[in-house]
Each structure stands twice: as structure tokens, then as C-alpha cells.
């Protein structure tokens, strides 16, 4: 009977459920406890989430068990906290006690239990938001915000039951980001560095020492009036002051602009020539400028000029050319040095060794002779001479010593070294003469076939300076004599000037003629291409009246008269000699 009844009820329930299922009805779904919270650690509330209701009105109930107790209690208050919630009042709440809470959903078809949740009220405290948030602007000159608030009403901080810590956040109304500040347990906070004329928003929240943060309180707005912050005013003051200083500085610089310019851009020192007036030069009066440079009584130039003049007066209108030539010669003599000499400073004749080098120098020039257009003969001779260079150089130097001997007084502008040079030159020439005299003798023709010093290059253009090895008065070449001069012996038919070296005995060239050297002085120029040689009738010297070419008259045409007449050269000091003690007849003859 009983089994029949139970079986019947079972079949009936199955049928009903089958019928209900066909309609979509079912027992409720499983509810879920979402959270439990306590605002002041004295009461708490639990909320749940209902599952599916199964199409039927479902009833939810909450049951709980306290720690270590099997007594099941049901939620005392389902309404205070709203729908699907359970509110535990003070009487029902025990702190430091573990609650085991379950929600049951029940409908006509069945019930469903949620998963149990263990809750200890101490750890689920989430207070309400702080209250009475006030923001006050203080100190109009340099304003700052004073933010004050109260703890939530329900939280009992006065008795020490709850300890709350606070946090506030501030932002400008137009901004996005909040600026958060931690206030600890205090209920007041100051905010500085405000933007003038802006609106600020302030919020505050709190948290128990072990628990959850509350929600942010309602926003409080505050407007900061326009003001000039102390910081900005200081900056303005500094800016004004520095501007003033800057202007003073600029003014000072302007006043002293010249000295500033000198300091920053020091003037480049220009050439300083005593007596040189750049203004005068700019004005275009070059004559005046250059005349200012001329120092009266500047011996080398004047001596040279005098000497040139002394010589040149003998000649006719060609003397200008000759003058030039002489000048060029001088230059070339100097230049000869420089052509192979990289040091231009050495042209200033500072060292006494200069002339030594100059004495040696000509050899180099004469080696360069092949470069200049030359007569074949001389070229050959040069080559031949080159073969035995040492001797040839020595030989060459003999032709050149004119520089030394003649220069030792006047031609070098370096006065201080004058006394030395002749000795040296003399020594050198003597040395050469003594040691290599044989060489000289061996190739006397070489000398004459050599190209003349470069100074005479131009002379070569005019006529072939072809000194043949005509019979030289070898006897007239004393061994000790240095061959510094070349005397014109005669001019042959081909308009060539035959020269022979003159033995030179130092300063007294003019009246050294009587020491046995043969040389001729030009008496005068008679006409074109004709000059008269003077026979030196003084003393023991007698010049050789050699046959000369037609254009040249020799001693036959010697005119009586004082040597002074003939020469018409102002007799300067005997110590002063021309660069060459002889006449550049070659140039003369070309005309």
C-alpha cells in the first residue's frame, strides 16, 4: 500500500514535471552571494544574485551559521537594504566571529542552494563617504585652499572603535587628471600653488585601517580669484632688473665701441715702412710717397748710383740702357743667389757668410747656363767644364769674384760686415787662385767661352759673346793674382768682344793698373760703336796697343790729356769701385 502510494506520487510528480517542462518551467537556478559589507563594523549587509527563476515565482531566503555552532538562523531583515539583500542589525552582528552564509532559492518545483560564504565582519568594512566637505580660500595675496571634512556619520571614530584614514583629490575643472593627496587620520588639508582665476574640484574618501575604500564624496567647487603670485611677481622684478642691466651694458659697449672692436677684432698689422704714408699712396701721388721713403745719405744705393753714374757718363745715349743693365745686373747678381736659394731673407746680406756663398754661387748659375740660349761653343765648353766640376767651379768662381772684390766696400748694403768681406773674398779668391791656378791655366778659353754671368744674359742677345781663347798674355797673369776682372782686349770682326781677365789687387783698381795688370780704360766714345781706350801712360804700366777692329781705335787715337779729361768720371774715392772694374763693352758694341 505504501509503496503503491509512493510509486503513484512519483509517477504523478514525473508527469507534472514533464508537463511543466513542456511549458518551460523548472526549479530555480542557483543564486549567488555577491558581497557582504559593513559600513561601521557594527552592522552588515549581504547581497545575492538570483539565478533563473524557472518561470515560477521564486522565494529567496538566507541562512547563516555562526562559528562553531550548528544553529541555523535565517536572515532577520530582507527589506532594509533593498531587494535581494539581507541586513544584519547590531544585535545580530558579532565581530570576530565567522559567519557561514547560504542563500536558498525556492519555487514550486524545487529549491536551489547557493555556495556558502564565510564572512568575518572585521574584514568587510567599507565606510560611507566622508561628510561636510568644505573648501575655503585663505590669504588673498598668496591664496591657498583649506579643505575640511567630517568622517561618515555612522563610523564611530571617537571611541576608537574604527580608525579611518583619508584621501582627497583635486583637479582643475578643465583638466582630466586628478591630483591625489594622502591625508592620514587628519580631517584637514591645505592645497598651495593655485592657478589664479581657475575653478578647482575637490573630493575626499576614507578607509578603515583594515578594510575597503569608501566611495568618493560629492565634488566641491571652488573658484580662485585673480591674483599675482609672489613667485610671479619676483620673476617680473628679476626680469625688469636684468633688462635694465642689459641696457646699461649695451650703452656702455656703444660708448666704447672702438675699444670693443679692437678687443674683439684686433686690427691686422700692416706693413710698416718708415716714412710710408698710406694716405698719400691712396691719394695717388706715388712720387711723393716714394720720395718720402728715400733717405738721404743712404750709402749703398747712393754709392752704387754714383759709381754707375761715374761709369755711365762715358757713354752716350745708351747709358740709360746700361744703367738699367747695371741695375739689372745688380739685381740679377742678387737674384742669382735667390734662384737657387729658397731663403729670400738672405738677400739682405745679414751674414758675413753671405758673400762667401755668393762667391760660391756663380758656379751654380754657370751650370744653368745651358738653359739660356747660348752659343754652341760656350755650351760645349760648359759641358766640358762640368765634367770636372770641382775645378770648374773654382774656375768659375774666379770669374765671379768680382762680386766679392767689388762688393766688399759698397755693393753690399750691410755695412757692418764690410771689413770682413773683402778679406774673405780675397781669401777665397786667392785660395782658389793658388790651388786651382793650373786649372785656370789649362782652360783659359773656358772662361771666355763661358757664358757671362746671368747678369749679362741680355748682353748675349745682342751679340755673341764669344770670347775666344786668343792669345792671352799668360805672363800677365801672376799666380797670386785673382782674376776678378775681365778686360776687353779687342773686338774682332764678328762684333765679338775679346776680353781678358784682369788681375786685381784689391781696392785700388784704378791706379792698380800699373801693378802689372793689363786693362784698358775707355777713353771716350767717339761715335756709334766706337770708343776709345785710354792708354795708361802713368808709371810703369803700358797698355798693349793691340790691334783692334775698325770700330775700335786703340792707343793710336789716344788723346793726350789728363786722365781726368778722358774719363770724365768724377773720381770718387779710390776704394769705391764699380761692380766690375771694366766696361761692359759688349752692350756698347751692340749699338
Amino acid at each position: 500500500m505504501m509503496s503503491r502510494d509512493s510509486g503513484a506520487s512519483l509517477i504523478l510528480s514525473l508527469l507534472i514535471s514533464a508537463v511543466l517542462d513542456s511549458d518551460g518551467l523548472s526549479p530555480p537556478g542557483k543564486p549567488r552571494l555577491t558581497s557582504c559589507r559593513s559600513p561601521e563594523k557594527e552592522t552588515f549587509t549581504c547581497w545575492w544574485e538570483p539565478g533563473s527563476d524557472g518561470g515560477l515565482p521564486t522565494n529567496y531566503s538566507l541562512f547563516y551559521r555562526k562559528e562553531n555552532s550548528d544553529t541555523v538562523y535565517e536572515c532577520p531583515d530582507y527589506h532594509t537594504a533593498g531587494r535581494n539583500s539581507c541586513f544584519f542589525s547590531k544585535n545580530d552582528t558579532s565581530i570576530w566571529v565567522n559567519y557561514n552564509i547560504t542563500v536558498v532559492a525556492t519555487n514550486a518545483l524545487g529549491s536551489n542552494f547557493s555556495d556558502p560564504v564565510d564572512v568575518d565582519v572585521v574584514y568587510i568594512v567599507q565606510p560611507h563617504t566622508p561628510e561636510n566637505l568644505t573648501v575655503v580660500l585663505e590669504d588673498e595675496d598668496n591664496p591657498f585652499l583649506v579643505v575640511r571634512w567630517e568622517p561618515p556619520r555612522m563610523a564611530d571614530t571617537r571611541s576608537g572603535w574604527i580608525t579611518l584614514i583619508y584621501q582627497l583629490r583635486v583637479k582643475l575643472e578643465k583638466e582630466e587628471e586628478w591630483e591625489e593627496h594622502f591625508a592620514g587620520q587628519q580631517k584637514q588639508f591645505n592645497i598651495f600653488s593655485l592657478h589664479s582665476g581657475e575653478v578647482y574640484m575637490v573630493q575626499v574618501r576614507c578607509k578603515p585601517d583594515h578594510g575597503f575604500w569608501s566611495e568618493w564624496s560629492a565634488t566641491t567647487y571652488v573658484k580662485v580669484p585673480d591674483y599675482i603670485s609672489r613667485e610671479r611677481s619676483i620673476w617680473i622684478l628679476i626680469a625688469v632688473f636684468s633688462t635694465f642691466i642689459f641696457f646699461v651694458f649695451i650703452w656702455t659697449m656703444h660708448i666704447n665701441r672702438n675699444s670693443v672692436k679692437h678687443f674683439l677684432l684686433p686690427p691686422v698689422p700692416g706693413p710698416k715702412i718708415k716714412g710710408f704714408d698710406t694716405q698719400l699712396l691712396k691719394s695717388g701721388k706715388s712720387e711723393a710717397v716714394f720720395s718720402a721713403l728715400v733717405i738721404q745719405g743712404y750709402p749703398p744705393t747712393s754709392y752704387y748710383d754714383d759709381l754707375l753714374v761715374e761709369y755711365l757718363e762715358v757713354y752716350d745715349n745708351k747709358e740709360q740702357v746700361l744703367m738699367l743693365d747695371r741695375k739689372d745686373l745688380q739685381e740679377s747678381l742678387f737674384k742669382s743667389k735667390s734662384s737657387s736659394d729658397t731663403d729670400s731673407g738672405r738677400g739682405s746680406c745679414d751674414s758675413h757668410t753671405l758673400l762667401m756663398e755668393k762667391c760660391v754661387e756663380p758656379k751654380e748659375d754657370q751650370t744653368m747656363m745651358p738653359q739660356v740660349k747660348d752659343s754652341e761653343a760656350s755650351r760645349d765648353l760648359v759641358m766640358k767644364n762640368d765634367s770636372n766640376t770641382p775645378e770648374s767651379t773654382n774656375v768659375k768662381t774666379k770669374t765671379w769674384p768680382t762680386i766679392c772684390s767689388s762688393y766688399h766696400y759698397d755693393q753690399n748694403p750691410c755695412y757692418h760686415s764690410i771689413p770682413e768681406m773683402p778679406r774673405q773674398c780675397h781669401i777665397s779668391s786667392n785660395h782658389f787662385a793658388s790651388t786651382h791656378q793650373q786649372d785656370y791655366w789649362e782652360s783659359p778659353a773656358d772662361i771666355y767661352h763661358k757664358k757671362p754671368p746671368s747678369g749679362y744674359r741680355y748682353a748675349q742677345a745682342y751679340s755673341e759673346f764669344n770670347i775666344k781663347g786668343i792669345a792671352l798674355k799668360e805672363a800677365t797673369f801672376p799666380a797670386s793674382k785673382s782674376l776678378e776682372y775681365v778686360e776687353v782686349q779687342h773686338v774682332n770682326q764678328e762684333n765679338t768682344l775679346i776680353l781678358k781677365p784682369i788681375g786685381q789687387e784689391g781696392p785700388d783698381l784704378f791706379h792698380a793698373a800699373c801693378t802689372g795688370h793689363d786693362y784698358s780704360r775707355v777713353n771716350r766714345v767717339v761715335s756709334d760703336n766706337v770708343f776709345l781706350l785710354q792708354r795708361d801712360t802713368s808709371g810703369q804700366c803700358h797698355s798693349d796697343c793691340q790691334e783692334r777692329e775698325a770700330p775700335v781705335r786703340s792707343c793710336t787715337q789716344q788723346q793726350p790729356g789728363k786722365p781726368a779729361d778722358h774719363l770724365q768720371v768724377p773720381r770718387v774715392q779710390e776704394t769705391h769701385l764699380a761692380p766690375n772694374g771694366y766696361v761692359d763693352t759688349a752692350t756698347m758694341l751692340s749699338y
Partner: protein, 228 residues
């Protein structure tokens, strides 16, 4: 005559030395009522003790969460223990009203009882923690610090109680109680030994929270300055 005086004088000297020694030892450096001496006020003492208890509770919370994280007890064990804490025999107020209803002396006594009850189990806990291989050295240090802190906190609370008694805020009956009550019953200790590490941590976390809370209530009740 002289012979008698000499030993007598020596004896007196010895006694005096001893007395001075004891006097120096027993007497506090800053005697009550001395001027120019900065003895901590009750408020300062309370603040120190509360800070200490906060630190202790922080350590216990950290260890408990570490334990839950690393040892992953079964889900049904999280937040719940099967057994009572060994300090369940101590009647502690479970609410604000209950706590406020208690007298100061009783409250102080509860605090001291709680602290006394945890001294041995925590040292035991520290030793058992060291045996766990998974626990890091930091957790081991925390456990050691925690056990030291309980001892120090108890001394501190005793000092506070002394001060309160000196100031007449509480009756003198407390001192006798604390000395006898401090000796935790054997049963409680044995019960603690049978608890697992997790259970110990769970219980201690709660009890340290209680201590901290009670101290705050006590302070606010006794040192009622500007709204606590």
C-alpha cells in the same frame, strides 16, 4: 675597642653598598614628580603600544595571506577553520557595546591574557615554519619577528597598566591578576600544539586585531584628548 669598631664599620659599609645598589637598580631613572625629566606620558605610552600592535597585526595578516597563497588549502578551508582557537576560553567582547561596557581593568586584563596565551604557540609556530621548505626566508623572519613582538607588546601593555595604576585610573587589583593569569592553562597550550600552522595563523590574525582594537578603545576612554 678599635677592633670591634672596625668589623662593625665594615659591615655597615657593606650594607650601605648593598642598599645603594638595590636602590639604584629598583628606582626608576625618572622618579615620579621629578622636574626636568622627560618620562613618557600615558598618551605616549598608549601610542607606542598601539603602533606596536598595529605592526604585529600587519605581520600576521601578511603571513596568513602568504600561507593561503602558497599552500592552497582546500577551498572549503579558506576563511574557516574546523576547530576553535585555543584562546576561545578567553571571554572577549564581540561588539562595540560589549567592549565599551567592560571596565578598563577588565579590558586591560583581556589584552594581557590574549598576549600571554600566544607567547608559546608563536615560538612553536616559528620553529615549525622553519621546517617548511616552501616558505621563503622573508616569511621565516616575519614569524620570528611576530613571536618577539608578542612578548614585547605584553611588556608594553604591562607598563601601560602600571602607569595607569600609578595615575589612579585603574584599581590595583589588576597586578595580581596579571601575574597569575599570565600563566596560561596547560590545556590551552596543549591544544595549541595540536593545531596546524594555518589554523594558528588564522587564530592569531584575529586575536591581534582584537588586541589592537581593545587598546584603541582603552586609549580613547582613558586619554580623552580632542576626540581621540
Amino acid at each position: 675597642m678599635s677592633k670591634n669598631v672596625r668589623p662593625g664599620s665594615l659591615f655597615v659599609l657593606l650594607l650601605m653598598c648593598l642598599d645603594l645598589h638595590t636602590l639604584v637598580e629598583s628606582a626608576p631613572i625618572c622618579a615620579h614628580g621629578h622636574t626636568g625629566c622627560h618620562s613618557p606620558t600615558l598618551s605616549d605610552l598608549f601610542d607606542r603600544v598601539i603602533q606596536h600592535s598595529a605592526r604585529m597585526h600587519g605581520l600576521s595578516s601578511d603571513l596568513h595571506s602568504d600561507f593561503e597563497q602558497y599552500f592552497l588549502p582546500s577551498r572549503n578551508q579558506i576563511g574557516r577553520i574546523n576547530r576553535k582557537c585555543h584562546t576561545a576560553y578567553i571571554l572577549t567582547p564581540n561588539g562595540k557595546e560589549n567592549a565599551q561596557r567592560l571596565a578598563r581593568e577588565e579590558l586591560t586584563e583581556v589584552i594581557l591574557k590574549l598576549l600571554a596565551a600566544w607567547r608559546d604557540p608563536l615560538s612553536q609556530f616559528h620553529r615549525s615554519m622553519a621546517r617548511h621548505e616552501d616558505f621563503t626566508s622573508i616569511s621565516g623572519n616575519k614569524a620570528l619577528e611576530m613571536s618577539d613582538m608578542v612578548h614585547q607588546l605584553k611588556n608594553g601593555v604591562e607598563k601601560v597598566a602600571e602607569k595607569m595604576q600609578l595615575l589612579g585610573m585603574i584599581s590595583n587589583s589588576l597586578m595580581s591578576l596579571s601575574s597569575t593569569e599570565a600563566l596560561a592553562p596547560h590545556s590551552a597550550s596543549s591544544e595549541a600544539r595540536s593545531m596546524s600552522d594555518y589554523e594558528l595563523l588564522y587564530c592569531f590574525r584575529r586575536d591581534s586585531n582584537k588586541v589592537q582594537n581593545y587598546l584603541k578603545i582603552l586609549k580613547c576612554r582613558i586619554v580623552a584628548e580632542h576626540g581621540c
